[in-house]
Symmetry: C2
Subunit: 221 residues, 2 copies
């Protein structure tokens, strides 16, 4: 039995859910309000963060390390290329989204608009929201440029890099913060990834008090 | 020819330098003031960060992806264990230091005390410095606890996890921000890692205007 402690809109949790889904591994999802951590939760992960995955009797933390571990245990279908250069590029892009995109975009939009409210920490800081809304344009352009040369973000096969990016963009799409008209490549890429079976659970997410816009779960958005 | 664009006290650059050193790969170091990026530098890395490594005709960014790439091309001596569980633990700890430790400690001490001044951004914020000085205690205790059970941080062999940790601690030691008397395990671990040939270039670093304390390069500190 695989169990994932998560919050629905966390891109880091979504990346792990997408990896598990692509490998057809069934998972029980347990919502964890990590900002009100229970003693039991802190025992599971001293870092006090989600995702935390229970699998094969182990308790695992850190989303990138978890995804590489899943990949090594269940290499089929592959989410990492065979060559060192290909794997390097996947890891570079996963870090791009989880570090840079997260700091410049996700934390400024999702955290300000949703997480702060859920945590009872008040209203969005409009300066940060404006910065995030500006920065996402540059990132969509960068993705569009990559997709000019490649079928998927890191090369010609789907990889963890696509799931890292889609995890952030889907969470932002839930709050209508992605302009899908900005770049045709990115829109086409998202339509392809959104229609994968692994994406179904993500599209079914519903956060009380924050209803998703109608296009969120629409494969023909 | 391998060339690394870096800044001397950056833990992310130091981790790459230690990896290269352990593999006995010679590298030419080029100092890059990434906060005044040249056009040429931004062409090398659109993220505008260091480290950037030029190797085998490729330009590589993102320190964790770089270290895994070096490991795959030059597996001897190994810095990653053979089992998926062992590799998971190394990656978890690398993320622990580069994300959590960096956010809670390094960014509050090193950035406030040194980088801000180099960037011409004024004086340290004493509230942040106090927070960093408090948080490092908890991290040293966590390392001490790991080393109660293991010879090195991620297991019985030296790994990228040790170099990630040593990269942060050595940069903080340069500004006398590590209390080596707090935990005997950690002190002993640092003495072991400090005496490795790969560490020599790190111990020879000298930042103008910030002379290191005498114990910094002393193997018998």
């Amino acid at each position: 039995m695989i169990r994932l402690f998560h919050v629905p809109l966390s891109p880091f949790c979504r990346k792990v859910r997408l990896s598990l889904g692509e490998k057809r591994l069934e998972v029980e999802l347990v919502e964890e309000r990590y900002w009100q951590p229970s003693r039991e939760f802190l025992r599971r992960n001293p870092a006090g963060k989600v995702p935390v995955l229970k699998m094969n009797g182990r308790t695992l933390a850190e989303s990138a390390a978890i995804c590489e571990y899943i990949e090594e245990l269940y290499p089929d279908p592959p989410l990492m290329p065979k060559t060192p250069e290909g794997r390097y590029e996947v890891r570079r892009l996963v870090a791009w989204f989880d570090d840079k995109f997260n700091a410049e975009v996700t934390s400024k939009l999702l955290h300000e608009r949703v997480t702060k409210k859920l945590m009872g920490k008040g209203y969005p800081d409009s300066r940060l929201v404006k910065e995030g809304a500006q920065a996402i344009k540059y990132h969509l352009d960068y993705m569009g440029w990559l997709l000019d040369h490649r079928r998927w973000l890191a090369g010609d096969a789907i990889s963890l890099a696509d799931f890292a990016a889609a995890a952030h963009l889907s969470a932002l799409d839930y709050i209508s913060d992605v302009d899908w008209n900005r770049n045709a490549n990115v829109r086409e890429w998202y339509a392809k990834i959104k229609s994968r079976p692994a994406f179904r659970s993500i599209l079914a997410d519903h956060v009380p008090g924050f209803p998703p816009p109608p296009h969120y779960a629409d494969l023909d958005f």
